[in-house]
Symmetry: C2
Subunit: 181 residues, 2 copies
DNA sequence: CAAATCATGTAATGTGTTACATGATTCG
DNA sequence: CGAATCATGTAACACATTACATGATTTG
């Protein structure tokens, strides 16, 4: 259900097509999940059915018509209500931890190599988030407070991955003290 | 598909029924996701079809028969192969960040209250993880290295939530410098 | 000349959650 | 006496991912 409100959020800045929204999702990084067609186009139909957005169709030659969606007052109200609703804990699924849980069957070398590959992945991802924060493509920066909020959102991801990187490095370091089983 | 390997992992310790596995998932905390019937019972059928587990049925009076699953050599090999497979980045979906992204429409009081509620949730969760680590119910502790790995898995969750708690506290603190829009 | 951009969508499949269903026994 | 435990499973729904489909235009 979050995707509907993320869409309403983007539309609260300015009207957009499904295609525009797709790119906003992609560029955001933060809202990576659900940058895909299926969910966006379906969500837009639903939002329209509930009168949270209106829709203007622009015919084009040689191309599919552009469907420009605009948020309604009802849509703005729904967005605000949702923003004020009870916050939930992040949902985290780390399959690497499941691998680790049964990694005692590995040799020290195998285990360290597995951990090293994870460290590398995390590190790469961290670099990407840091770059993304510099470029700062999506954020609107209309007010100082809004700019601050978007900066903190980027920091959330960065510090999460920094934390993960520290953790895996500590794991690798301390593993040297344990012989294989 | 992770659930299949998590089940194989538990079965690599000892044979178990679907019901046993369900409780192992619940108690683990770490593998919270997919402690539900549907996935466990379905996965067990699949594992059996692929000969990764064998199945012994114990008839009981007045109760459904117990189906005791035992991992096969093929199952152990599949588990090891998976444990050595390319580690993936954690999947994280934090809806609170989406709320924050469009929270500039709120008053300072509303925004701080929203953040305070998130802080409280995170804090509660952190306390639960810390308790769980002390109780240490699921881990087998058969070798020092295995014990260490399970301890690091618990630490991963704890440090992630500590990081989140620090982040939200910093956010609340620094927000005091920004007037509402 | 191949790939990306624009612009819509559908279909199939995978994964996860909640609720429903049964029914005796034991515990607080 | 109500709730939890034991033990299996099904059904409905929600949410996500990947691939397919079309087809002109622009860019490298």
């Amino acid at each position: 259900m979050t995707i509907k409100y993320a869409i309403l959020g983007f539309l609260s800045w300015q009207p957009a097509t499904g295609y525009d929204l797709k790119k906003l999702f992609e560029d955001s990084g933060t809202f990576h999940w659900s940058g895909n067609n299926n969910q966006i186009y379906k969500a837009l139909v639903e939002l329209h059915n509930n009168a949270l957005v209106t829709l203007e169709v622009q015919q084009q030659e040689d191309r599919p018509p552009r469907k420009i969606y605009t948020i309604t007052e009802k849509g703005r109200a729904a967005l605000k209500r949702w923003v004020l609703s009870e916050p939930e804990l992040p949902q985290i699924r780390n399959t690497f931890l499941v691998q680790l849980a049964w990694a005692d069957q590995l040799t020290s070398a195998e285990l360290d190599e597995l951990a090293a590959r994870y460290e590398e992945e995390v590190h790469t991802q961290l670099r990407m988030f840091r770059l993304q924060k510099q470029r700062n493509k999506v954020s609107p920066q209309r007010t100082p407070r809004e700019e601050f909020l978007w900066s903190m959102i980027a920091d959330n991801w960065i510090s999460l991955y920094e934390n993960e990187l520290n953790w895996i490095r500590r794991l690798r370091h301390e593993l040297t003290a344990y012989p294989e089983s």
